[in-house]
């Protein structure tokens, strides 16, 4: 176990679909419902645009947690996008778990455009989970040579 860096702050990437969750995040903003600045949002048209490669890339580049937010199942702006996303991300998360990566580092949450409060609550919870998990060491290099 590495010694925890006292200056460490979690790096969290949140992929938000344009129609629901990004709008939900905006609503959290207009309602001044705060959550930690560690969360940085990337806007995507739909949760189905999130390629597992983006998630792995984020981890590899130093992210400590990645969360994907989309419209509630059944409410996708594109009808079916989040259904595909749900299967893909379930598979990816399961694989990461299988490789021994902490389960808490990945999360999917469905947040509608009207759920500013839920967005804020979700982000607060997620930051707390990641803070408890600490720095992401494992996913920086899943095949790193044993020293």
């Amino acid at each position: 176990m590495s010694v925890t860096n006292p200056n460490w702050k979690p790096k969290i990437v949140a992929f938000c679909c344009n129609w629901c969750s990004y709008a939900g995040a905006d609503l959290a903003g207009s309602g001044r419902m705060s959550y930690p600045a560690d969360v940085k949002i990337i806007r995507v048209p739909c949760s189905c645009r999130v390629n597992p490669m983006f998630i792995l890339r984020a981890f590899e580049r130093g992210a400590d947690g990645v969360i994907i937010c989309g419209c509630h199942p059944g409410d996708c702006h594109y009808t079916s996008g989040n259904y595909y996303a749900r299967r893909r991300l379930t598979m990816l998360f399961s694989m990461l778990d299988y490789l021994g990566i902490e389960r808490g580092r990945t999360r999917v949450e469905w947040v509608s455009a009207a759920e500013g409060a839920k967005f804020s609550k979700t982000m607060n919870e997620f930051v707390e989970t990641i803070t408890n998990l600490g720095e992401n060491r494992k996913l920086g290099d899943i095949r790193c040579k044993k020293s």
């Binding site: 600045a37 990337i42 983006f54 992210a63 996008g81």
Partner: protein
């Protein structure tokens, strides 16, 4: 190397309050590729936009980042600014440092740091942006209005008035909706039917309006300007073109056990019926659940008496397929069922009624012919208790009701109280309320008249229990002003029940991919600035489908929605979203994975000679129809080779953002 300009907005103190905007502008200066970086108080103002235009010209910028409010707010503004200055409008990226930064972080140092990261991520994305050119698509000059209540009727009339065809699809056998069930309307007390039915007639006589009643929208595909809808017109077993509405069949029909929906099921109607005298279309309909002929094959009385020969027992549902340029959702509302709120005893006591039931009990065409009689024994009630906020304004975490205010109940309860006191001065009327909300033109004056002139007894407090004792209903509640418990022996209890979206709204919302809130009201594109548009282009909102409102508000919104529809239909072409998928033919396997996940059928395959470095062969490759693709990106992830990419949200662009954020 690209020449990038960065424009950091203060948004007055909205951003500058918790983000050191000057420090952000300064920090961005050192980012490779950024040749100009500045902050300004209001970037969206004319002066702010001029600042951008001037910088684009002076520094020959080939891309700009605006760090400001949400792109959902001003992305289009700044794209237009860029375009006016000669820049491709898609070489603009927005860093959302207001909604997603300054407004949620209180620590200025933290906020500033995050704003810098977000602006840098936008620069990183911009570096991978490519100029995009929007295409055009046709506009079908016809509108579909779902719901034929006052909202749908008004929208249809206004759209038709501008010269465009409109189809109204109404699920019930007649248009008119909830307003047709009302007795009088506040605050003027004019008869609801008297002001509504002329509009219904006007709609039916307008040659641009096509009323498709007893029908529902079953499927919608397409996109703004060219939607395609499948409408199921249920078999009414009566030929609409032949029926004269003489109602002779209704008199002769031996089956009289159908519940009269128009009268809130308080009386029975025959199996063949016209919902009410002024129904449009004024055509009978057979209830197949009640019709003896349809159920057993015997009877056929209505067919025998119908001089017009309109009865057709073999009629089947009809499917209508039509194209529309715009769709208006006017699906309206229904009162909630107050039975689960068992303290009010609605389910057990016939004399506990909802306000809409009361409307029918007071209406001349209602089950009591307009004389107020209590349902249990047909006697005149002398003590009436109204209870407000039944199922409205409930704690969000309980199953007891709706969290929102249903908005219309205070006023209609005052109306009911006033009308009863006016007609039956020997009747005492008590109203239990939490607050009385009267924000509307002449509303408070109306309410005060109820109290001051008509002597309605308003009691601030809620009711804990309604229990039957003998032929009385004992209403126990609290009087918060006099700080005491009160008990009233009432003859009739009226519940001002909350209203909720019509049950059909949810499936229509899903069909239209129009977003809804947790209460199933349709959400507007912007709560303040775009209140009659859905975030889904081409879908407009009219009436209570969007949120509780009274008749004048509904009519106003219906006309507003119509003006938006007219604005859309007046265009011959629409500019399409250029952020669509595109397949790189050199990398495409033709494996059909992308096609499987495309919700629009925008992907087809062709055999094509592919030419590239060291390649010249005929391959099966995917092609995206940019007019059909809506840019969701599902295909890009299904594609294993990465041949399929999404313009404006490309793999490279998103990866660049990821890399920058994780630095």
């Amino acid at each position: 190397m690209q020449k990038i300009g960065v424009f950091v907005c203060w948004c007055g103190s909205n951003i500058a309050g918790t983000v050191d905007v000057e420090a952000v502008a300064e920090a961005l200066k050192s980012v490779p590729g950024v040749v100009y970086s500045v902050s300004y108080q209001y970037m969206c103002s004319a002066a702010g936009q001029k600042l951008i235009t001037d910088a684009i010209n002076e520094y020959k910028l080939d891309g700009i980042v605006v760090a400001s409010c949400s792109p959902r707010m001003h992305e289009n503004t700044f794209r237009k600014t860029a375009e006016a200055a000669g820049l491709n409008p898609y070489m603009v990226e927005i860093a959302n440092i207001r909604e997603q930064c300054s407004w949620i972080h209180k620590d200025k140092e933290e906020g500033t740091k995050k704003a810098i990261v977000l602006a840098k991520a936008a620069v990183a994305k911009l570096k991978n942006d490519k100029p995009l050119k929007a295409g055009t698509s046709q506009v079908t000059k016809r509108a579909l209005v779902i719901g034929g209540g006052i909202a749908g009727i008004q929208t249809a009339l206004d759209v038709a008035d501008a010269g465009y065809e409109v189809d109204i699809v109404e699920q019930r056998p007649t248009i008119g909706g909830r307003m047709a069930q009302l007795d009088k309307t506040f605050p003027t007390l004019d008869c609801s039917a008297c002001i509504l039915t002329p509009k219904m007639v006007e709609a039916s006589q307008n040659e641009k309006i096509n009323i498709i009643s007893y029908a529902k929208v079953e499927k919608v595909s397409g996109f703004v300007g060219s939607f395609k809808a499948t409408i199921r017109k249920k078999a009414r077993f009566v030929d609409e073109t032949k029926c004269t509405g003489c109602s002779l069949c209704m008199q002769k029909c031996p089956s009289k056990k159908g519940k009269d929906e128009f009268n809130m099921n308080m009386n029975n109607r025959p199996a063949i019926y016209i919902p009410f005298a002024q129904a449009i279309p004024n055509v009978a309909v057979i209830d197949p659940e009640q019709c003896i002929k349809l159920k057993t094959g015997k009877c056929g009385l209505c067919e025998k008496v119908c001089a017009a020969g309109a009865i057709n027992y073999k009629m089947e549902d009809e499917l209508i397929e039509r194209e529309y340029g715009a769709i208006v959702v006017a699906t309206g509302f229904k009162p909630i069922d107050p039975s689960p709120l068992n303290e009010y005893g609605y389910a057990e006591n016939a004399d506990v009624v909802t306000s809409l039931e009361l409307e029918r009990l007071m209406n001349a065409a209602g089950p009591t012919k307009g004389t107020l009689l209590r349902p249990s024994d047909g006697k005149h009630p002398h003590e009436i208790v109204f209870i407000q906020c039944v199922g409205s304004r409930c704690d969000e975490n309980t199953e007891r009701g709706k969290p929102y205010c249903s908005k219309i109940c205070c006023m209609y309860t005052a109306k009911h109280a006033m009308l009863i006191r006016d007609k039956y001065p020997d009747t005492n009327v008590h109203v239990f309320y939490i607050d009385v909300r009267t924000p509307g033109k002449n509303f408070d004056e109306f309410y005060r008249r109820a109290v001051e002139q008509y002597g309605v007894d308003y009691i601030k407090g809620m009711v804990g229990k309604v229990a039957k004792e003998g032929d009385k209903l004992m209403v126990r509640g609290s009087d918060l002003i006099n700080n005491q418990q009160v008990e009233i022996a009432a003859d009739l209890v009226v519940l001002a029940t909350a209203i909720e979206p019509d049950p059909s709204a949810r499936s229509i919302g899903t069909m239209l991919t129009a977003s809804m809130d947790t209460n199933d009201f349709f959400t507007e594109a912007h709560a303040k600035l775009r209140p009659v548009e859905s975030p889904t282009a081409g879908i407009f909102l009219s009436g209570v489908a969007q949120g509780p409102k009274d008749v004048p508000e509904t009519v106003a919104q219906a006309s507003a929605a119509a003006s938006k529809v007219i604005g859309l239909l007046a265009k011959d072409h629409l500019v399409t979203n250029p952020c669509v998928a595109e397949s790189n033919e050199l990398m495409c396997n033709g494996c059909s994975q992308c096609e499987k996940v495309c919700p629009y059928g925008a992907i087809t395959y062709i055999e094509k000679e592919v030419r590239g470095p060291g390649v010249r062969e005929v391959r099966r490759i995917a092609q995206v129809n940019p007019a059909v693709c809506q840019g969701c990106g599902a295909c890009t992830v299904a594609c294993p080779s990465g041949a399929m990419d999404l313009k404006g949200f490309s793999n490279k662009q998103i990866m660049a953002e990821v890399d920058q954020i994780c630095l």
